[in-house]
Symmetry: C2
Subunit: 515 residues, 2 copies
């Protein structure tokens, strides 16, 4: 492929992406393929001869598109969002074009320095305690990791190594492997599977403590577990608390957990993968209470801050605690600016040696949007979820189980079987995509605001689908089924809902203008 | 940013990348900035208002470009290559535009299935033993990891957990922590720092065994270490062998190491991050000797197979060995097609939960090039290195220390100080970028073929720079300095070199046509 073909192919790709995202609502959000579908469409081995980009682009449309689940569709309400933005896509393109690998300052100074600056911008945007920032006097610092899983794992490993060093000094009678064998970590049974996996991979016992009836890890549960373990000669190392659990977006009680961690030399990590974005809103500052006691925390820009996957911001209160554990140097990695405070060698803050230039898409996205639009969009997504919640509440066959930020958890009243069947029926129709969770022992359906540009009519579309499928399942009010046919349409307001609509119309319009 | 602005910005980015890569030789390969330069150019916090893409693009050129080390420049001869290609950049753009996260089949079937197929294509292109492929009858399988560091770490962790399970059954008298405390892993002192780090992070003693005088780990050294450790009650777990060490591209002796590993239940992982690409050439099949005995291996497409960073192919002979160790499931991750052989849940093969759609850029790049062009380009890069080696050999002030694939290691004869000074002077001039290593206790300079489209005149440019700087340093033959001034130019052939040039002109031309 020569440079002119690249210009053509690249621009065709941009146009494709624009067309795809602009018309994404026209597609079923879930694909209609069976496992193995692609094996029947592609040859078993690479051919010898080069192929023209137009042929490849045709095959892309024919073979690749049908196998997609459309995460950027506003009809996607599963998992958590992985919202991208137009500016972020361009940022990724530019980073791929520059093709640098930033494992040390000399490998591309801007790659390190822009990341330092972006982590400060983000820390301030999220109103984090200054002690976490690179720009503070202290030892704080931020880094972009790939994912929350990596950040959690890094925190567990850094805490483990720090604890082993301390415990070896405190317990000269024990061998290192005796110490390692007694290490124990804590999290709630509602934390992401990545936390449990970090325990397995880190060879450290990870206790999944029972969350309370609202899915929150409470201080008393945590403290009791630690005291038990200490009495049995174990060494507590780290508590991974969650701000926004995957199931129901519950917030562990940091104000109860944090002080005990600090007093007892237990590393506190906060996984705020999803909810972290809401910290940019002053009205959500209360969920941060106790976060100043943490040793590290992470939030995913690729969830709810409009930067495409992967991009996870992680801060340490004492960056030396990780670099001391992770640092391995060789002659071919040394350079004259090692140790400079504005040029940290980020490779010692992470698992991998190599590093992508992720801060570029962050910089481009943040500037394209500006702080106010980011705050407005996040508020708007919360309002969209509130609207869905109101719809559910207008229908007395349903109950809203819990609702936090842009997540609404609901179910059909009665036993689980009907809600399971409803979700199954909806999933098979592929018009919207939701996933289940459990709450207080009951099967619930999660409705999450996702996609690149969700609007109020998408909520109406989703509610039409849910309500009409409930009608079909429960055998009542068949006339309502008309509403789900055809394309997304303006919802006919009921009197209850009309009031809510009017109250947020101003916000809708201002948000729709933006990004 | 609305959809029309995206089209404009995206196409401007494509044009920028095309212009940048087309004219990349015009820039010094190393930047002229001091640590902290960017902190003085960018504001300390994000502004409130959105900014226009044109403003951002201007700032990109003003603030970002000067801070780059140009990895895609053919004047970059440091580390190992991280060659991208035009088609791969478009692939990354499309993947960013689709914005899917592929942690299970249902999250986008094509994301999983294309990866399965690409790993088979690649395995066949590299002539790997069939037992590693997904398409074989056995339990083999491939996955795309982010980097060699991750692959090595995954191998260490999987081997560790598998060993612990086996040893617990074999040694019911020992506690799990006693077993874990006795685990030991092996690699050579020439392996990448990522191997040592995998030992630290995996909490397993990693012995850095002395390589022989040609930087190769020999079977006798390895076997002696294992026998010693066994006699001391330790449990050998894994040997991480390297095909193409970072310092000098040495190949550990797999044929000596492998049979012992297989006989003694020691996992054999092969890190072929760089050299793996050469396996597509039949004339390099010999370096694979013994690789059929490995349990896992990795090579980086983002090094020498024209796919932009990050993209590391990893194969297992028995994929269950990793999934058994890494699998943690929750209700929100379950789906009806779990366990389908053509739709593996790749999240259980890796550290992270989230997954980018990396196979898309692989598919686009491989098809754009075709197998024959890939082989020709890799051969051509080896010839470019051979040319550089010949230049060095024509100058009796220098010695070629070793030379493998597209890496030439050389030095000034005599003590290390002069070679160090020469490299230092060259680095300060920023015309070409090379890094040092050590070999047989001596300081050496590594000259690596890198960049998006290296050509013979780039080798001449580099040699002019090296030779003229040696002239300046050693105070001889001052007239030669004229050669380095100005832009890259046709090298005036000496009689020795003329013959070599002629013999490979045919290959040069056919390769220049491609990609």
């Amino acid at each position: 492929m020569d440079i002119n073909e690249f210009r053509e192919f690249g621009k065709a790709a941009i146009d494709f992406v624009a067309d795809y995202l602009e018309n994404i609502r026209d597609r079923d959000v879930l694909p209609s393929v069976e496992p193995g579908y692609l094996h029947d469409m592609l040859p078993g081995k690479l051919q010898n001869e080069p192929e023209d980009w137009k042929t490849i682009m045709e095959d892309f449309k024919r073979c690749i598109l049908p196998g997609l689940t459309h995460w950027q569709s506003p009809h996607f309400h599963a998992f958590y969002p992985s919202q991208t933005s137009y500016s972020s896509i361009v940022g990724e393109t530019l980073a791929a074009g520059l093709g640098v690998v930033g494992f040390s300052w000399i490998c591309s100074p801007v790659c390190t320095e822009l990341e330092v600056i972006m982590m400060n911008w983000l820390g301030q945007l999220l109103n984090l305690p200054k002690t976490f920032l690179n720009c503070d006097e202290g030892n704080g610092g931020g880094i972009i990791q790939g994912s929350a899983s990596e950040s959690i794992f890094v925190a567990v490993l850094a805490a483990r190594e720090q604890a082993v060093r301390r415990l070896r000094a405190e317990h000269p009678d024990l061998t290192e492997s005796e110490i390692r064998g007694r290490l124990v970590a804590y999290t709630s049974d509602q934390s992401n599977s990545a936390v449990e996996k970090a325990g397995i991979l880190g060879a450290i016992k990870m206790r999944l403590l029972p969350a309370d009836e609202t899915s929150i890890l409470r201080g008393s549960t945590f403290i009791q577990a630690v005291e038990e373990d200490k009495a049995n000669g174990l060494f507590p190392v780290i508590c991974v608390a969650t701000l926004g659990t995957t199931g129901t977006c519950a917030y562990d009680n940091l104000a109860e957990i944090g002080p005990y961690c600090n007093e007892h030399n237990i590393w506190l990590h906060i996984d705020a993968a999803y909810a972290g974005a809401a910290l940019c809103l002053p009205e959500y500052a209360h969920i941060m209470k106790g976060a100043e006691l943490a040793d590290s925390l992470n939030f995913n820009l690729h969830k709810w801050m409009f930067v495409n996957f992967d991009c996870c911001a992680m801060w340490f209160k004492d960056a030396a605690s990780v670099t001391q554990s992770f640092s391995v140097d060789r002659i071919y990695l040394q350079h004259q600016f090692q140790g400079h405070s504005k040029a940290p060698d980020y490779r010692h803050w992470q698992i991998q040696l190599g590093r992508r230039f992720r801060s570029l898409k962050v910089w481009i996205t943040l500037r394209t949007m500006g702080a106010e639009q980011i705050r407005n969009l996040i508020r708007f997504h919360i309002q969209l979820a509130n609207r869905f919640e109101e719809y559910v509440r207008t229908d007395d066959r349903f109950e809203v189980v819990c609702s936090t930020l842009a997540l609404v958890c609901f179910r059909l009243k009665g036993d689980d079987a009907q809600s399971k069947q409803l979700l199954d029926n909806i999933t098979k129709r592929k018009k919207i995509f939701m996933i289940p969770a459990t709450y207080q022992g009951k099967f619930i359906i999660r409705f999450m605001i996702c996609g690149i540009d969700p609007q109020m009519h998408d909520i109406e579309y989703a509610w039409d689908e849910v309500r009409s499928q409930a009608d079909l399942l429960l055998g009542v009010d068949q006339n309502r089924n008309q509403l789900v046919k055809g394309e997304p349409k303006q919802y006919e307001k009921s009197s209850e809902i009309g009031k809510i609509t009017e109250s947020i119309t101003g916000m809708m319009i201002s948000s729709e203008k933006g990004q």
